[in-house]
């Protein structure tokens, strides 16, 4: 049984309104599922439930709005199903768009910030080390835990807003010290130069997800070349092919100064070496065809400011021959525009998508040919979501391919 505080009991008794009561009831049910003894306070929340998957999401949000729901902690919003800044990009059904827009408005009415990004860790007020938070969106969860050292379990749609409305979470899993220790060890055994190539990181994440499932893997063999953007790509892929909510990279991530500390001085259940051959298999698995190049999509998770700077340098003076989509947040786009980074990217012929992502909503239309991406997550989900064939490559590969009009490989993986 979950022990409740006096405030929890007053929420449960409906003293702060129906929405807070419903949220507390659901929170307790989940706490019991997770084996929690108690609830703890959180300092922030990130809501995944604002992307539209059908009427149930709208009905649930309306129940909370009608019950006078108001978030109790600073709360950001994930990508939604529409680009409100560029509404003309939407090529889907207008009734669906209306419902998706209504869902976005409902979450703003509950007091959430209209950030519309899957990469809330790129926003200025991101969580700090040790903070207890409640985040939805699998890539954001794994980044918060692994790279920032903030503490969140995998919160799904509905549960995320229940945490935000009560300011509480069940104390279990990755909120606890022992839940964060690694139980599997993966040694990256590759020539050093491989770690210079962006493509290595989503491939590594894809393999980790397959092998780790929902356990916490500890990676050895990475170094300072594993930048935040590369760890973002790794985590997003691992949370797609598996349910990885946290990883450690020894000497890189904040809770893994040493292998022993990451494992809590307990021998790992398995030790696995990851070779170049295993990563090459991952690349094959994430490439469903190499035929005619129809389009390029990058920025899943949302493109960061640093990635815009890299993209600007790569595209300088060139022009894409196929539709080239970049997904990002309105916040990062604003920064990139203010810093003057966007001019060569616009001249290259890029279509910028904000607030949403090309793999969850009909933006790309009918593509004649395959789509190239630098994202393990996009490559994992797009074949089923959009019915397209994909080719994975680095950001440099994507640009080079867009210029020549066919999938080419540059760098260490060529």
């Amino acid at each position: 049984m979950v022990q409740l505080s006096e405030r929890d009991r007053s929420l449960l008794g409906g003293e702060m309104g129906d929405a807070q009561r419903i949220a507390m009831e659901l929170l307790i049910a989940v706490g019991e599922t997770d084996g929690a003894q108690t609830l703890i306070d959180i300092e922030m929340a990130h809501i995944d439930g604002c992307s539209y998957h059908g009427q149930a999401g709208v009905d649930f949000a309306q129940m909370l709005v009608d019950g006078d729901g108001r978030v109790q902690v600073p709360t950001t919003l994930n990508v939604a199903s529409l680009d409100l800044l560029h509404p003309d990009l939407y090529k889907g059904d207008s009734a669906v768009a209306e419902s998706a827009k209504r869902l976005m408005e409902q979450y703003v009415a509950l007091g959430c910030r209209p950030t519309w990004t899957c990469a809330p860790y790129q926003l200025q007020d991101r969580p700090s080390f040790g903070q207890q938070i409640a985040w939805g969106e699998s890539n954001a969860i794994v980044f918060a835990n692994s790279v920032l050292g903030a503490r969140t379990n995998r919160y799904g749609d509905f549960m995320d807003i229940c945490c935000a409305l009560t300011g509480r979470v069940p104390y279990a899993g990755l909120h606890t010290d022992e839940g964060r220790l690694g139980t599997l060890q993966f040694n990256v055994v590759v020539p050093s130069s491989i770690l210079d190539d962006d493509l290595t990181y989503p491939l590594l994440g894809h393999v980790l997800g397959q092998l780790a499932g929902s356990r916490v893997p500890v990676i050895t063999g990475l170094d300072e070349r594993a930048t935040e953007d590369r760890l973002k790509a790794l985590g997003a892929a691992a949370a797609s092919s598996g349910a990885v909510a946290m990883f450690h990279a020894v000497g890189v991530t904040p809770e893994a100064p040493s292998l022993n500390e990451a494992l809590g001085n307990v021998a790992p259940q398995h030790v696995t070496d990851l070779s170049v051959d295993r990563l090459r298999d991952a690349r094959r698995e994430l490439t469903t065809a190499i035929g005619t190049l129809g389009a390029v999509s990058v920025g899943t998770p949302h493109m960061s400011f640093d990635e815009f700077v890299s993209l600007a340098a790569l595209v300088e003076g060139q022009r894409t021959t196929v539709p080239f989509y970049v997904n990002t947040s309105r916040d990062v786009l604003d920064k990139a525009e203010s810093a003057g980074v966007m001019a060569p990217i616009v001249a290259f012929g890029v279509t910028v998508v904000t607030d949403t992502c090309t793999y969850i909503t009909p933006i790309m239309g009918d593509i004649e040919g395959d789509v190239m991406t630098n994202s393990g997550k996009w490559a994992y989900y797009a074949p089923a979501n959009l019915g397209v064939s994909v080719v994975i490559g680095s950001l440099a590969d994507c640009v080079a391919s867009a210029v020549t009009g066919s999938a080419v490989s540059t760098g260490e993986w060529s």
Binding site: L26, T33, H53, G54, G156, D157, S214, A239, S241, N385
Partner: protein
């Protein structure tokens, strides 16, 4: 047999669909048809609708709660779910659908899962063969 844990209480009977590998409802299942659409899943094309779904632990997206709730709403969801370990993402999807639409999809944890193809009933903390 007695289940290890009742996560969502209720009664449901149906043909057992035992999945060989984990499945993410979001991105892995068509809400409209109830079929598995993840091309990498060994049972791609099989329908979950009305089945007692025996599922090794969930995987992937945190949107799976919404997808399960919507499938229950339109009638393409499983009748009930037998898990090998607790999964709160599916639990909250089922609880929300019950609250909004009064349709209960019971979820239990059991150490031994029934065989695919046979007909079983989840009845609170009991898992019973019907066929």
């Amino acid at each position: 047999m007695r289940v290890d844990q009742v996560l969502v209480d209720g009664v449901a009977a149906g043909e057992v669909l035992a999945l060989d590998t984990p499945l993410s409802f979001w991105g892995g299942v068509s809400i409209e048809s109830g079929r598995i659409v993840d091309p990498s899943h060994p049972q791609s094309g099989v329908s979950l609708a009305g089945k007692v779904l025996a599922l090794p632990h969930g995987r992937g997206s945190s949107s799976s709660s919404s997808v399960l709730a919507e499938m229950i709403r339109i009638g393409t969801g499983p009748a009930g779910i037998v898990l090998d370990e607790p999964d709160s993402i599916l639990v909250i999807g089922a609880l929300v659908a019950d609250r909004l639409y009064g349709t209960r999809c019971p979820i239990v944890v059991a150490s031994t899962t029934p065989e695919g193809g046979s007909v079983w009933r989840i009845n609170g903390a009991e898992l019973e063969s019907v066929s």
